[in-house]
């Protein structure tokens, strides 16, 4: 019998060189993830200085920090109002929405094992857009007042993913079935929205198309709170499933043999991600690109281990959205360009650059 099994290296005590290298890479990943909040903090400061009232970057930071550590930082009444009432809400919305879209996108790509999967290829945004058309054109919805549009967007987004989940659980929750159902939903809700557009007045059309471009400035702190809670809960659920997402990338049968019921995980993760996305999109309108490309960029930087990839995708989503919005507020100031367009215009060239530069296949 050939001596195939040999013992090499030490059982206890010293680590081998490759083990050292492994630990170093893990450390690197953690450092990379920790730099993202720093980056967000820096862009926040820059973004808070931009606007009609001139503030220096130091004024902006001390206005922010004054409310957190009042003994150490001083600010003026004007800076405080400017930063906390006018600019920070928008910034906080950008970070929150970017984080939610990023983490949900990464989770969806994992369960569908498809690099093209994103909150929007699955028709969730079409569902939301249909709900909004219903609200704008027919004034028809589940709630009144300012919640008419938000409520409709949320409910129809969830209805759409509910249909996908329902079809998938009847026919077996494989990635192919979910993607096909998602595309079908995309078409049916898209078609229904077009019908509304056909009969809509000019003003109504304008309202619908503005909603489709995304806006971070429409709501304040008040409305942000429930969204943050929703994202915190959703992200927690997704993080708990990080291991299973790792295992699921090797295929359903192997996942099963490793103890992971892919179908069940797919339904749980899909539900959690849809809630996140619907909660965000209902308020901000459609912000594409981040849920698709944020996770891809994160994967290029940090690898496919979801324990690191999920938080990295979320944070990177926050960086991209905040960055894009900051640029969108600057270039034609005082006109604010729609953030949904800005993310794609700025992000896509960078993304293509990454694809061309990196040689390894990522999907």
């Amino acid at each position: 019998m050939a001596k195939t099994i040999r013992r090499r290296g030490t059982r206890t005590g010293k680590k081998s060189a490759i083990q050292e290298e492994h630990s170093k890479r893990i450390g690197m990943k953690i450092i990379l993830i920790l730099t993202l909040p720093v980056l967000i903090f820096i862009i926040t400061g820059i973004s808070a200085t931009l606007g009609s009232a001139d503030l220096l970057i130091w004024d902006a930071y001390s206005a922010i920090l004054h409310r957190i550590f009042p003994e150490y930082f001083y600010t003026t009444w004007l800076s405080d109002i400017c930063v906390w009432h006018l600019r920070l809400p928008r910034i906080a919305w950008a970070i929150t929405a970017g984080f939610g879209l990023g983490i949900a996108g990464a989770a969806m790509q994992a369960i569908l094992r498809n690099p093209l999967a994103s909150p929007f290829t699955l028709g969730i945004s079409s569902g939301a857009a249909f709900g909004v058309s219903l609200a704008i054109v027919l004034n028809l919805g589940f709630f009144g007042g300012m919640w008419l549009i938000v409520g409709n967007a949320f409910i129809f987004a969830m209805l759409c993913s509910g249909l996908i989940l329902g079809l998938a659980s009847i026919r077996g929750a494989t990635s192919e079935i979910m993607i096909l159902c998602g595309i079908a939903m995309n078409y049916i809700f898209g078609a229904a929205s077009s019908l509304f557009q056909y009969f809509a007045s000019d003003q109504e059309l304008r309202g619908m198309s503005f909603w489709g471009m995304g806006d971070l400035g429409a709501f304040s702190w008040e409305e942000l709170r429930p969204v943050i809670v929703l994202i915190a809960i959703g992200s927690f659920v997704l993080m708990r499933k990080a291991w299973d997402l790792n295992v699921m990338t090797v295929g359903d049968e192997t996942a099963k043999s490793l103890g992971v019921d892919s179908g069940r995980i797919r339904l749980i993760v899909m539900t959690a991600s849809s809630l996140l996305i619907a909660g965000i999109v209902a308020f901000t309108g459609i912000i594409g690109f981040i849920g698709l490309v944020g996770p891809h960029m994160a994967r290029m930087i940090i690898g496919a281990d979801h324990r690191f990839l999920l938080p990295a995708s979320g944070l990177l989503g926050g960086v991209i959205l905040l960055g894009a919005d900051t640029v969108g507020r600057t270039i034609l100031a005082p006109i604010i360009l729609p953030v949904g367009s800005m993310t794609s215009m700025l992000g896509v060239p960078f993304f293509l650059y990454l694809i061309l530069k990196r040689r390894r296949e990522y999907w």
Binding site: M1, E21, T249, L258, V260, A304, W363
Partner: protein, 268 residues
């Protein structure tokens, strides 16, 4: 009494529920502890399907699988995963994963949410055992077929499985790699006291490495027993339709296929 690690009793499986033609038809096998059971048979004879039924990746329409005399249909997914490892033939391509992370997946049944030092240490131990520590940080997709097969076996070991099911572990490998992989399995069975069921096309490898062989045709077991009992010219002729000469080579039968048996085409 003979010890039995795992057995299947009258397994019936067909894809269209009970109506379709059976892929497995009353299959009963027994596997002793620390033994290798080879499953041979032509394409479509139900080898892979049998392995999947044993690991409950698919559910048989009828029959039972007993592991240490416990019905696995009544065990939880995670519980089965702690006992049975499955090395699949084709790997569906996902997002790229490093060798270390691939093997780490084997720890999933033993983990709750996060891995700790001890799990990491187990992975390194397994990688060293199979002599592939130096591949740890490479991407799985970059490896050669033989290396990939070793990584998948390493994952089953990290799983601490007592029974390892292997589906065509030597297909796509050159002859040296075929021996390497089979030697690893043999050593594991001898030293780590795991049991293995191997679905395999190569009759000579099956003959050389199996303690017992099962020969299947169209979902049924045609012959079962020691290699020299199963691998006969008659069996090979009736199951494969191939004329073969059997030689003895270091205690194991050695099969030399001559050619397809000419059959007269039936009319009507």
């Amino acid at each position: 009494m003979v010890m039995i690690k795992l057995e299947t009793i009258d397994i019936v499986f067909s894809y269209d529920g009970h109506s379709g033609p059976p892929i497995l038809d009353d299959v009963s096998i027994q596997l002793a502890p620390s033994r290798i059971l080879g499953i041979v048979g032509p394409n479509g004879s139900g080898k892979s399907t049998l392995l999947k039924c044993i690991d409950r990746i698919i559910k048989p329409n009828h029959g039972s699988v007993l592991l240490d005399r416990r019905e696995i249909m009544k065990m939880g997914r995670m519980e089965i995963a702690k006992k049975i490892g499955y090395v699949q033939q084709t790997i569906s391509r996902g997002f790229p994963t490093s060798v270390f992370d691939t093997v780490l997946m084997g720890r999933r049944p033993h983990l709750n949410w996060r891995s700790d030092e001890e799990d990491d240490e187990k992975i390194w131990e397994v990688l060293r055992l199979l002599d592939i520590e130096d591949l740890a940080l490479k991407y799985f997709g970059e490896l050669s077929g033989g290396q990939q097969q070793k990584v998948l076996i390493a994952r089953a070991l990290a799983q601490e499985a007592e029974v390892i099911l292997l589906d065509e572990p030597t297909s796509n490998l050159d002859i040296l790699r075929q021996f390497e992989v089979m030697d690893i399995i043999r050593d594991l069975v001898n030293k780590k006291l795991v049991s293995a069921i191997i679905a395999i096309h190569d009759l000579n490898l099956a003959s050389r490495y199996s303690d017992k062989i099962i020969m299947m045709k169209r979902g049924k077991i045609v012959s079962a027993g020691e290699p020299s009992y199963v691998l006969t010219a008659d069996n090979i002729a009736s199951v494969y339709g191939v004329e073969a000469v059997i030689r003895k080579q270091s205690e194991a039968p050695y099969i030399i296929p001559i050619g397809p048996i000419k059959t007269t085409i039936r009319k009507g």
